[in-house]
């Protein structure tokens, strides 16, 4: 039943995109007749009614509260809820605003987003790392730092899936929730701030026109001290953990299986650049919402799953549910987000000078912590562009923004990635790590305990330092 619903959803997206393509192309023929008509039409559906933000707000609130307060209802019904709320917005844009361009643009963005996440998820799920070594605070620091670095190559999702089991294994005699919380802080979130592959918000920025290498060249000097600071706190905390099993003997053995999936990961990484806007030889398949990049990445999904070893999948307790959840929820998020993005940009343009980089840092950050950080990022990026009268849907204007107002882009990007660690719902991998650890029998802190005991006393002081140094 779940599989059928999933297939229907994907077919629905494709069919709707094709109908929209047809309508868009037909309407553009008509529009060619007079420039005045185009201008009139654009002006006519320039802004949606504020009430149309409601599906977006409802969806984000349900994503935040569902897994915690009514998780059985949520687990059973989230696909229907996400698709239903998304459909409301799609129909509004299609039949009321007659704005098919925004829908087409959003569909293309969704497929790019899900192709990257799914391919990273499947490719890293087919890799097994076993380490039989005694944990020390220094070894743990090294693993977390390694995770922070590779998160930028295989995404925070991939790095978390790859490293959480070996991290648990070497700490099996001294496993405590704080180890996992710091893992979430560093590997599942803050580590991935250097490339668009690192964290979903940055990939959305990349899709909107931010250069791939802009993030590493403009954020490494914030990333490095932040990672070092949190690792130093971790070292102090971990050094106090004296639990050990004196009878256990360690072989020091290191085992790695699933080497071919490293090739798949490399293909995914290279495919990110297979874009007509980046390489001129790449065929432009527009107005199709799926380009060559997505075709390559979806092929990797199939290949890595079909060729994966059963032994590795069993060891990883591989389950498609997490990525299925992301696929459904983001159909709803991407669709319902369209009016919010347009209205926020408009309001930001009105507010103008009152919006400082520091304000963007805290507002993007705090909302990224309690909502998913990917849509939050786009909303605040839209607001920052709107402040300067620029449009987030225009690649050229996003590039102008990146070059002329980089401090704003930097503060939003840093905040969206860093603050994603504040709660379990801030970023996709957080819940995945929690789930893997609980499947291993370790009880994790509740939503509020995580915030009160770990995020507020550890992350907030670090983020205040970042704000004081870079954005005050």
């Amino acid at each position: 039943m779940k599989k059928i619903l999933f297939i229907i959803m994907l077919l629905n997206m494709l069919i709707m995109s094709n109908i929209i393509i047809a309508q868009d192309s037909a309407s553009s023929h008509a529009k060619k007749e007079t420039v005045e008509v185009i201008e009139h039409e654009q002006e006519e559906h320039a802004l949606p009614e504020p009430i149309m933000v409601l599906p977006f707000v409802i969806l984000l609130m349900m994503i935040a509260t569902g897994p915690i307060f009514y998780h059985h209802f949520w687990e059973k019904n989230y696909p229907k809820i996400a698709v239903l709320l998304g459909t409301i917005t799609v129909f509004y844009y299609w039949f009321v605003l007659h704005d098919t361009h925004s829908l087409l643009h959003t569909a293309a963005e969704y497929f790019s987003f899900i192709a990257l996440l799914a391919s990273l998820f499947f490719a890293s799920g087919g890799i097994m790392i076993k380490v039989d070594k005694k944990a020390t605070p220094l070894l743990n620091v090294a693993i977390l730092f390694f995770g922070a670095v590779i998160a930028n190559l295989i995404g925070t999702t991939g790095a978390s899936m790859l490293l959480i089991r070996p991290f648990l294994k070497i700490n099996q005699d001294r496993a405590k929730p704080y180890l996992i919380v710091f893992f979430i802080f560093i590997v599942s979130n803050i580590g991935g701030a250097l490339t668009p592959i690192g964290d979903p918000p940055l990939f959305l920025g990349f899709l909107r026109g931010v250069d791939f290498f802009w993030f590493i060249s403009n954020m490494w000097h914030i990333w490095l001290p932040t990672v070092i600071l949190i690792l130093a706190i971790f070292y102090v905390v971990d050094s106090r953990n004296k639990s050990e099993d004196p009878e256990r003997e360690y072989t020091g053995k290191f085992e790695f299986k699933g080497g071919k999936n490293l090739i798949y990961l490399l293909i995914i990484l290279l495919a990110v650049f297979v874009d007509p806007n980046v390489m001129s030889w790449v065929p432009n398949l527009a107005p199709s919402p799926i380009g060559l990049r997505e075709i390559i990445q979806f092929s990797v999904v199939l290949l890595s799953y079909k060729t994966a070893s059963r032994e590795i999948l069993k060891y990883n307790e591989f389950d498609v549910e997490p990525i299925r959840e992301v696929a459904f929820l983001f159909v709803g998020i991407f669709a319902t987000m369209i009016p919010a993005l347009q209205l926020i940009a408009h309001e930001a343009n009105v507010l103008g000078d009152k919006l400082t980089p520091g304000l963007f840092f805290w507002s993007t950050g705090l909302l990224s912590g309690v909502l998913d950080n990917a849509p939050t990022y786009l909303n605040f990026l839209s607001a920052a562009l709107g402040k300067f009268g620029l449009n987030i849907n225009d690649l050229g204007e996003v590039k102008d923004f990146q070059n002329l107002h980089s401090i704003y882009l930097q503060s939003i990007s840093v905040a969206a990635v860093f603050f994603g660690a504040m709660t379990y719902i801030g970023n996709g991998p957080n819940f995945m790590v929690k789930s893997i650890v609980e499947r291993a029998g370790i009880r994790m802190p509740s939503f509020f305990t995580y915030v009160v005991k770990y995020s507020l006393p550890i992350l907030i002081p670090v983020f205040i330092i970042v704000w004081l140094v870079f954005y005050l």
């Binding site: 060891y315 389950d319 609980e438 291993a440 029998g441």
Partner: protein
């Protein structure tokens, strides 16, 4: 009545019907991990799991599941920590971690949790 060792050595499985699991030996259940739920409280019959120990088998009912075979993912197993009846429950050496894998035709594969699965008692 079969002992746990006999069950494991002979590869005898248990049974599962809908939300109910039957283990072919009598045992105290200390902890169950199903999905990402960790169950240690067996006193309630509304949520989590309830346990009934008969003379030669043990029944576990999972309150939040209707059909274990359908609802668990392909590579997912139920993990339990048990102590065979008659053995000293306070001696950790008697605590055994098992994986229960619901298979076709109501068969339940029972095996000790090996190195391939990470599990904390």
């Amino acid at each position: 009545m079969k002992t746990l060792n006999e069950v494991l050595e002979n590869g005898n499985g248990g049974l599962h019907y809908g939300s109910r699991v039957l283990l072919p030996f009598a045992a105290e259940i200390l902890k169950i991990v199903i999905g990402h739920e960790i169950i240690t409280d067996f006193s309630k019959k509304q949520h989590g799991a309830s346990v009934r120990i008969a003379a030669d088998y043990t029944e576990i009912y999972f309150c939040d599941y209707k059909n274990l075979e359908e609802e668990l993912a392909s590579y997912e197993v139920i993990k339990v920590v048990i102590v065979e009846q008659g053995k000293d429950i306070f001696d950790f050496k008697n605590h055994v971690s098992l994986e229960l894998d619901p298979e076709e035709k109501h068969r339940l594969k029972i095996a000790k949790i090996g190195d391939d699965l990470i599990f904390f008692e």
